[in-house]
């Protein structure tokens, strides 16, 4: 216990470059896969965080995305399908001094791993959870996933899927998440900002990253990644700022209707006051923006952030409290129990 935790604060952190976080393993993703961009952003951001390299632990489940830890020159654990949040919880409980990141896919997190996903969020273990959502099972070669749109034709759904998909951010909000953000593989600057915010947040920081699988679901996000269309189709939310979007010259904003639904208005100087101002601490607003779909713009950025107790801190607080009581941690006493007796020799 003490051997590691004690060292947490000892040395000043060396300054890193992105390269320090690149491992010697050959990358095995398909050429053109969106995962490359995310890897690059994460490596870049890790170098900036001021955390000693050995403090990072990157965990994952199974899937193309879950190969991620192999490519990071940190401690890494490629676990089993869907269970990484539980591995991460155990690790963080045992070692609160570590900087824990979990990488997962839409199948890994939301199909087989749904239960661990919602539980880590509700417990609010301090870690970052990056979900690479390509709306498909990549590694098993192209079955639909719980985020695939209805009607999707895949190997396992030749006539189209009839499953209604999850909205990952909405599910996270329902599961008590304290930090919910969304970004896109190719929005590199915005992505890095979101990653920094996620790291800064105390609690389980959930980040959904839309990721193109150019082999089995190519172009799933082409609509919004297209540079020209982006301004009309994406709204980058910012705390305290009005919810506005639109290409140059065409300012648009979101307003709350009387039926408590969002509606798009053309913003003029007169009605600017009607435009909703993003409040990242408001769960209702977060739910509303997370569920925006075309013809509305889709929301990107930090959708929700709230401060609440950390699981591992609560656990360790009890340990310390118990330890501080008089007569604590007396093994002999524990072994003897409440009513020992003595037999003379």
């Amino acid at each position: 216990m003490s051997q590691h935790e004690a060292t947490a604060e000892e040395q000043p952190t060396p300054s890193y470059t992105k390269k320090d976080f690149m491992s010697d393993q050959t990358i095995r993703w398909c050429p053109g896969c969106g995962d490359y961009s995310i890897l690059s952003q994460v490596q870049t951001v890790f170098a900036e965080l001021g955390v000693a390299r050995e403090r990072f632990a990157v965990l994952s489940g199974i899937g193309c995305s879950s190969r991620f830890p192999y490519y990071m020159n940190t401690y890494g654990f490629h676990t089993i399908h869907g269970r990484a949040p539980a591995f991460a919880t155990g690790l963080k409980l045992a070692r609160p001094d570590l900087d824990v990141w979990q990488i997962t896919g839409d199948g890994d997190a939301l199909s087989i791993g749904g239960n661990h996903f919602i539980h880590v969020l509700r417990r609010n273990v301090d870690m970052v959870l990056l979900l690479f959502n390509n709306r498909i099972y990549g590694l098993t070669k192209g079955q639909y996933s719980p985020t695939s749109e209805e009607g999707k034709k895949t190997k396992s759904t030749p006539m189209g899927s009839v499953d209604h998909p999850f909205e990952p951010c909405a599910l996270a909000l329902g599961a008590e998440a304290s930090f919910v953000a969304r970004t896109v593989d190719v929005f590199t600057t915005e992505q890095r900002e979101v990653l920094r915010a996620a790291h800064e947040h105390k609690g389980t920081s959930f980040v959904e990253i839309w990721q193109n699988c150019n082999i089995f679901n190519d172009g799933a996000f082409a609509d919004i990644t297209d540079k020209k269309a982006r301004a009309e189709k994406v709204i980058f939310v910012e705390n305290g700022q009005p919810l506005m979007f639109g290409a140059e010259g065409a300012r648009k904003g979101l307003r709350l209707s009387r039926r408590l639904e969002l509606e798009v208005i053309d913003v003029t100087d007169d009605n600017l006051g009607e435009v909703l101002v993003h409040d990242e601490t408001n769960p209702v607003l977060a739910m509303l923006v997370s569920r925006l779909k075309p013809p509305f713009p889709v929301a990107m950025g930090v959708l929700f952030r709230t401060s609440r107790a950390l699981y591992e801190v609560g656990v360790h607080h009890q340990l310390e409290l118990a330890h501080s009581r008089p007569g604590a941690a007396d093994l002999r006493k524990a072994l003897l129990g409440s009513s020992p007796w003595t037999v003379a020799g």
Partner: protein, 606 residues
């Protein structure tokens, strides 16, 4: 009137009543007092699967048996000499076990028509011949208890709740036990006026037995000749928890328990949750898969990871255990076995998880397996499991069962100086480090934990290249690794003691494993007392087997393997040693009767 005081060696008493009658508490108090009196003892609590089955029904019967003796004993006893029955359902469910001529104390007020009916009876069992073979002592326990506490202003319901102490008082008188420890306990446990009420009921029971001529004699069971030392009474689950705590102390590692509640394993979680002052982390996970996964995660972080469960939960852990095998992380998996398959008989005991412990993972994923044999032995087995796990860097499976988990016996509490330190040091030296570079003797890989500068590395479930730990699809490496993992388990045979036979090694060799130790040992002792050429071989380690098992099995005239399953160990022994071992199998959710084992031994020796 003074009744004669007969000294006897050995008593089995059973308290039975409705789930609401407090029989578990009564039994526990009787046990503790008896322990303080210096007897050797063994207990067997037996309760229904329901929290509170309908009052008065057979499904709701709860019982607690105590065997105490001035000799060394190994089981809670086959058949009680004394049965205290609080209602008709309890009587009919237990009477067949009472020895002929035994003492039967009944709470007469419950033997009325309405109550027999709840127990599905057509007649009063006190009157229809059911109890003819026994010394029946009818007592109006409820009425007498009521009188004892009448001026304390208790409600009817609360008054009724005191009657188990009246029964306990009678039992104390009968066996000349001191009431003081129980009184002290009552005072600490109950608030006024319930403390007073219970004490009065206890004394009333004692006095009633003393005064009224219910019993013709009183008994004294002198203290046993236990080795000197400080003792406590301990259940298997308590011993297991303390063993794990001690292992954490010995290794210097933080103890991490990942568990999801399940009968009969939950108490281990409950006990360990109390040791927060020792830095013990107990994580009640969302399910058993999360429990084992978190445990492996904690082990990756350098903790002593333990996960506890029972059958259905163990089945769920198989996939993750394969990962622990592949990543060679040291964890301890405890299976407190219960009656299966499926939900089965959740509160009953069984030994039917040996095969899943050995083979319940896909692919070639061998794990060391050991089993505890008595309640107190759970302590030793837990420290042993942790020692092997950490010194070989391997996940270890430890089997106990509902019988020893809930049963209790006196335990000589070891001095801290007796607990050898086996400190575990995580690797810190970057020079020459590779994640799968091994110790030449144990084949253990280095335990390099996150946070250590210069040892950054990545592990996972894909086949590993030996040495580097990199992912490898090379056919020859795969064969090498599969055989290496098997070899690592085999090498544990060098770290465990050889087997010893109790009695004759060359006659009928009776083999047991796990919680059946006590009944088998007693049966073999009795058989030997009758002059039969019989030996007892008890296995703690089931994978690997101790080195000398081979010669012991082949040296015996005949081998009989006794198990509470359809014959699992016997199959493994036959396969491994090609020995024509016989199987004595029983699957009834309860321990062997010594008498039944003895009969089988006699037949085979004839």
């Amino acid at each position: 009137m003074q009744r004669p005081l007969t000294t006897i060696d050995d008593v089995v008493i059973r308290f039975v009543g409705d789930s609401g009658d407090g029989m578990q508490l009564t039994g526990t108090q009787f046990t503790n007092t008896t322990a303080l009196a210096g007897n050797d003892l063994a207990t067997f609590p037996d309760f229904p699967a329901e929290i509170r089955a309908p009052a008065g029904t057979r499904a709701g019967v709860s019982g607690f048996q105590v065997h105490f003796s001035s000799k060394d004993i190994h089981t809670p006893g086959d058949a009680p000499q004394v049965l205290i029955a609080m209602n008709p359902a309890a009587l009919v469910a237990n009477i067949k076990d009472l020895r002929k001529g035994g003492l039967l104390i009944v709470n007469t007020e419950k033997f009325v028509e309405r109550e027999w009916q709840k127990a599905d009876l057509q007649a009063n069992p006190l009157e229809d011949g059911t109890v003819d073979d026994f010394q029946v002592v009818p007592v109006q326990i409820a009425k007498l208890t009521k009188e004892a506490v009448k001026d304390l202003g208790l409600s009817l319901k609360d008054t009724d709740r005191c009657k188990n102490f009246f029964a306990l008082g009678m039992a104390y008188w009968l066996f000349s036990r001191d009431t003081a420890p129980t009184k002290t306990w009552i005072k600490a446990k109950f608030k006024a006026p319930f403390d007073e009420a219970n004490i009065r009921a206890l004394e009333a029971g004692w006095s009633y037995a003393e005064t009224v001529e219910l019993f013709h004699e009183r008994f004294d069971v002198p203290a046993a000749h236990l080795p000197a030392g400080t003792y406590r009474n301990i259940t298997g689950n308590e011993a297991l928890a303390l063993g794990l705590l001690t292992a954490s102390h010995q290794t210097g590692l933080r103890l991490f328990l990942g568990a999801y509640p399940i009968t009969p394993a939950s108490d281990v979680l409950h006990y360990l949750a109390k040791f927060k002052d020792f830095g013990v982390i107990t994580f009640q996970a969302e399910d058993e898969i999360a429990a084992v996964s978190a445990t492996i995660g904690a082990a990756f972080g350098g903790a002593l990871g333990v996960t506890t469960s029972s059958g259905p939960g163990i089945a769920l852990k198989g996939e993750a255990l394969g990962l622990a095998v592949m990543t060679e992380l040291p964890i301890v998996v405890v299976d407190v076995q219960r009656g299966g398959p499926s939900t089965g008989l959740p509160t009953k005991t069984e030994q039917s998880d040996l095969m899943i412990a050995m083979y319940g993972r896909h692919g070639e994923a061998p794990m060391p397996v050991l089993a505890a044999c008595t309640p107190a032995d759970c302590f030793v087995a837990a420290t042993e499991a942790a020692r092997i796990a950490t010194s070989f860097m391997i996940p270890v499976m430890l089997l106990t069962d509902g019988y020893i988990a809930n049963g209790s016996e006196p335990w000589r509490v070891p001095d801290l100086s007796e607990l050898s330190a086996t400190p575990v040091v995580h690797r810190t030296e970057p020079e020459g480090f590779a994640p799968y570079k091994r110790d030449p003797v144990t084949l253990a890989r280095p335990w390099a934990v996150p946070g250590t500068p210069g040892l950054e590395h990545r592990i996972g479930g894909l086949e590993k290249q030996d040495g580097t730990g990199n992912v490898s699809y090379d056919p020859a490496n795969h064969e090498h690794m599969v055989r290496l993992r098997a070899d690592k388990v085999r090498r544990i045979e060098d770290a465990i003691p050889p087997l010893e036979v109790f009695g004759d090694a060359d006659g009928l060799l009776v083999v047991s494993w796990g919680g059946t130790y006590g009944s088998v040992r007693t049966a073999v002792e009795e058989a030997r007392a009758q002059g039969l050429r019989v030996g007892h071989l008890h296995l703690r380690w089931l994978n690997p087997f101790p080195k000398n098992l081979d010669e012991l099995l082949l040296g015996a005239e005949r081998v009989l393997v006794c198990e509470l399953n359809l014959g699992q160990l016997v199959q493994i022994l036959r396969a491994r040693f090609l020995v024509d071992a016989l199987s004595y199998a029983q699957v009834q959710g309860k321990p062997f009767k010594v008498s039944a084992l003895l009969a089988r031994i006699q037949t085979l020796s004839a």
